[in-house]
Symmetry: C2
Subunit: 197 residues, 2 copies
DNA sequence: ACAGAAAGTGACCGATCGTGCTCTTTCAGC
DNA sequence: GCTGAAAGAGCACGATCGGTCACTTTCTGT
């Protein structure tokens, strides 16, 4: 039962990479199986259907995201330095963690935002959870803490800059996308910090 | 030769709507043909291949975007009011112009950003052109005009808020996404205006 | 070491895809 | 109104997809 788990993870990570490139639907079971050195039918011993695999991919990539971004920033004390660390790690994740194929979560977001169902629900749930975490992080930035609305507004801008970074770098091919995003985010932190001194 | 052109446009607009929902690759010729009341082979009298149709879709949707957003703001004098109009129309376009299926250009951006070729090039070209236009718009906001870098930074944030708006509204289901985007954009205009009084 | 479960293979099915073919209908220019 | 081209229909093709089944190989717990 242990070898199966290792194979399962290999499948999921390879599937995630293909999802980042071609999309969740276009990533075919045959291609994923071949890439991990498996037959297509061998794949079905780990997932009873394609949708089951897609669901597992969504869970797995969110878990990896959390490991990559949050676990790195967690030891820092709440505050500006921790938020900067999170933002930087998020940029790293988006730029280089998936063989320069971009953040799979953003690809999933756009692909699933129009298709109700368990896949969309799973992704939305994780994203809302992550949003709550970051809102609390923003609230810990000032004394007295930011209101719910202020924290939501700060998160909205932070997430926007990350989406903008991805678009500017990947589609538009702008070389200073990362700098633009960092500059915008630092200015946001300044604004938030000044609002309640 | 005139009836053919009308059919061609009907095909493209229907194809665009399906692209916004399912994606460029997943939008099948058969479904598009059926929705327009055509046979699949009848479609091939207008486009020699699927890729040719996809290319035409990309051109057409950018043309429609320009009509919807720019033509409406053009009569206004360059300045803050015009930029606000552009932003509002862009939000309208993203929210309701495609039967609540979101902005097709954003779907295209994420789907094509990892697939080099003529489709990506066509999209990128239009997007870069639109970026130049908006950068000039920002520069006309102050006296003396903003530098190239400042205008690029302002455009980056504007585009980011629009991406953020789409994500917040469509995937996350946040009801006040539009308000968040507008608030962030107005604050951006304030900042730009204050920088050089 | 052995038995049973887990992991993996290969052949195959039905559906759907893009596309080419032949044929018919419809339209536009003289 | 006639004629040729444009517009469209119907069919069939090869490829690819997700999925099933019977079978073999490999591993794991006792």
């Amino acid at each position: 039962m242990r070898k199966g788990d290792a194979t399962r993870v290999r499948i999921l990570d390879e599937a995630t990479r293909q999802v980042a490139v071609r999309g969740l639907t276009a990533a075919s079971l045959g291609d994923v199986a071949e890439a991990v050195g498996l037959s297509k039918s061998g794949l079905f011993k780990h997932f009873e259907s394609k949708e089951a695999m897609q669901l597992a991919v969504i869970d797995r990539v969110q878990e990896r995201f959390s490991d990559f971004v949050w676990r790195e920033a967690e030891p820092l004390a709440p505050g500006r330095a921790r938020l900067e660390k999170i933002f930087d790690r998020w940029l790293d994740w988006s730029e280089s963690e998936w063989d320069d194929h971009g953040c799979p979560l953003m690809a999933l977001s756009v692909e699933l935002d129009d298709q109700p169902g368990p896949l969309r629900d799973a992704l939305q749930k994780g994203m809302l959870r992550w949003r709550r975490t970051l809102m609390r992080e923003f609230q810990a930035l000032t004394d007295p803490p930011l209101s719910e609305d202020q924290a939501a507004a700060a998160y909205f801008q932070m997430k926007s800059y990350l989406l903008g970074h991805s678009e500017a770098r990947r589609l538009m091919g702008l070389p200073d996308a990362r700098r633009s995003a960092q500059a915008a985010f630092h200015a946001l932190l300044d604004r938030v910090g000044q609002a309640q001194p």
